[in-house]
């Protein structure tokens, strides 16, 4: 910038004015400055600008894993909003590891992101307190923050969706409905288990529940064990997209009632089509980002807790008779 000023024969500040489109510059001077800028290939150093102004025009996003379609969709939607607001997105995957989540947030904060969108891996977020107090807003998505933190949150109707899924299977005549879910330490898994249990009522049988995550071996084991029971399950409720797919592989063509949480591509092309309770990852990302920007615009109201509806999509597997 100094070079540009010298080249154009004006003061530093005048160049700054031109670059920022501030008023009060003679058009002829401005033109001369612009010409010098082009000639020297100058581009403003955002770091210095950030340092001076305090706003980075950057938002940090922490998710589980970009390679998971659910989070990829969420990520894309967040990005869309962020770019639309003239900001940039720093993102990172926690890989379900609380330590890494924390490390990412810490790093983002050190870079003075204007705001954070977090899909938490852990359940202790007290480390966020100083940042929040310092005025960096945060929005939690998909899962709520740990106790003691009251911030904007966007969740799916996990329990309701699970109730609906299990209710659907019950309505199609199933009484023995198994559930495969993620570790109950994960909020969404616990909620879905609760919904499952609520829908089953007295039909609930703990032998038909396995909450050990999507690893193929454990899914395989659990299914085998359940199917060997005296009264084996005639239907299955899977607690997330990964589990649905893993279970489909483990079942290997054996036909049984199946409803999965999370929609996935090609669910309609399998035979039978896979009935799912679909979440709206893009909607979740969009809403979270919009909430964040509302805070950044100065909204100091009480924290918002949005619950997004889910949608049962019958495709065949959930309508199979027992």
């Amino acid at each position: 910038m100094k070079d540009v000023a010298t080249a154009a024969g004006v003061a530093l500040k005048t160049v700054s004015r031109v670059v920022n489109g501030e008023p009060g510059v003679n058009p002829a001077t401005a033109e001369r400055v612009r010409e010098a800028i082009d000639r020297l290939g100058y581009s403003r150093n955002e770091s210095a600008r950030v340092l001076r102004r305090g706003r980075t025009a950057t938002v940090g996003l922490v998710i589980e894993d970009v390679a998971d379609p659910f989070y990829a969709g969420l990520s894309r939607a967040v990005e869309e909003v962020v770019i639309g607001e003239g900001c940039l997105l720093l993102s990172g995957s926690s890989g379900e590891k609380p330590a890494r989540e924390r490390e990412l947030v810490r790093t983002f904060c050190a870079r003075r992101v204007d705001g954070l969108i977090v899909v938490p891996a852990g359940d202790d977020h007290s480390y966020l307190r100083p940042e929040l107090d310092a005025g960096t807003p945060a929005v939690f998505a998909d899962r709520p923050p740990g106790p003691g933190l009251d911030v904007d949150t966007v969740l799916s109707d996990n329990a309701g969706g699970a109730r609906e899924a299990v209710g659907h299977l019950l309505a199609h005549g199933h009484h023995r409905i198994a559930m495969l879910g993620d570790h109950p330490s994960i909020y969404t898994a616990a909620e879905r288990l609760a919904g499952y249990r609520a829908a089953l009522g007295p039909l609930f049988d703990s032998r038909l529940v396995a909450m050990r995550g999507p690893a193929p071996e454990t899914v395989w084991d659990d299914l085998e064990r359940m199917l060997a029971l005296d009264s084996p399950p005639t239907a299955l409720f899977t607690g997330n997209g990964r589990l649905t797919v893993t279970a489909l592989r483990a079942l290997g063509g054996r036909r049984m009632g199946l409803v999965g949480f999370d929609d996935f591509e090609l669910a309609d092309l399998l035979t039978p089509g896979v009935t799912v309770v679909a979440q709206d990852p893009a909607g979740m990302g969009r809403v979270a980002a919009e909430l964040l920007f509302r805070r950044l615009a100065g909204d100091g109201g009480p924290s918002e807790h949005v619950e997004l509806p889910v949608r049962l999509i019958p495709r065949g597997s959930g309508e199979l008779p027992p």
Copy 2:
């Protein structure tokens, strides 16, 4: 930092030394400083650090769309390497729009990213020249840069993969093999078309080729038109993952030979399983990031052009008889 210095009763510079783990600080003093840091919840302002040191420890990534599994996988692998190097990743989706690609790169450069990884949407990258000359290295992935730019590049063996796919169908008795591809203006699409053509030799028939992208309507139209020919195709080669899926939907259960470029989840669970030529998105991301960091470490050698092998995975659809 100034506050910390005051609180600990030392000079600014001493705090800086402690924060950066520089030697030459009395352990007792360092402890006092650390205590003050904890008490005040201080965290270093990276913007100022960047301004002073010139390195941002940030890498910019431009892809088509995070929500596309191929790019999600690539993205994740890049992230892994970048974080491993202690850097952060700024990413953005171009959505196949050259203007947006350019805008993203421009913004990244204004933020002084240390390096760029680009999946280009356009084919004119002369706008990168100043940045490259200024010492910001760039690596192109999945598609090469436009003419006149000689930078590190990581590509899949597109033509070879297409040849192998079509050869596989030929070997299983097909003579009328159609191709659905993306617009030939996209490098990978053109390469795959070339491979298809080379494999077919005299059997090539332009009426069996449609390069109009993955929009369902056009795929539907094209397939209908081809199947109505006097000698309709008995097999299909699809030019990317999206097209494969769209084509599967359009075919709606009609059995015909099929090999798709790009692997996708559940390809093995469909009936028949879908034979594919699998790329390695994670490998591509990893290699691209590693190349970039090699440059950042000072490697000034001639530009590297890596071609990643692809792998044919027979699953049934490519082995159907005519």
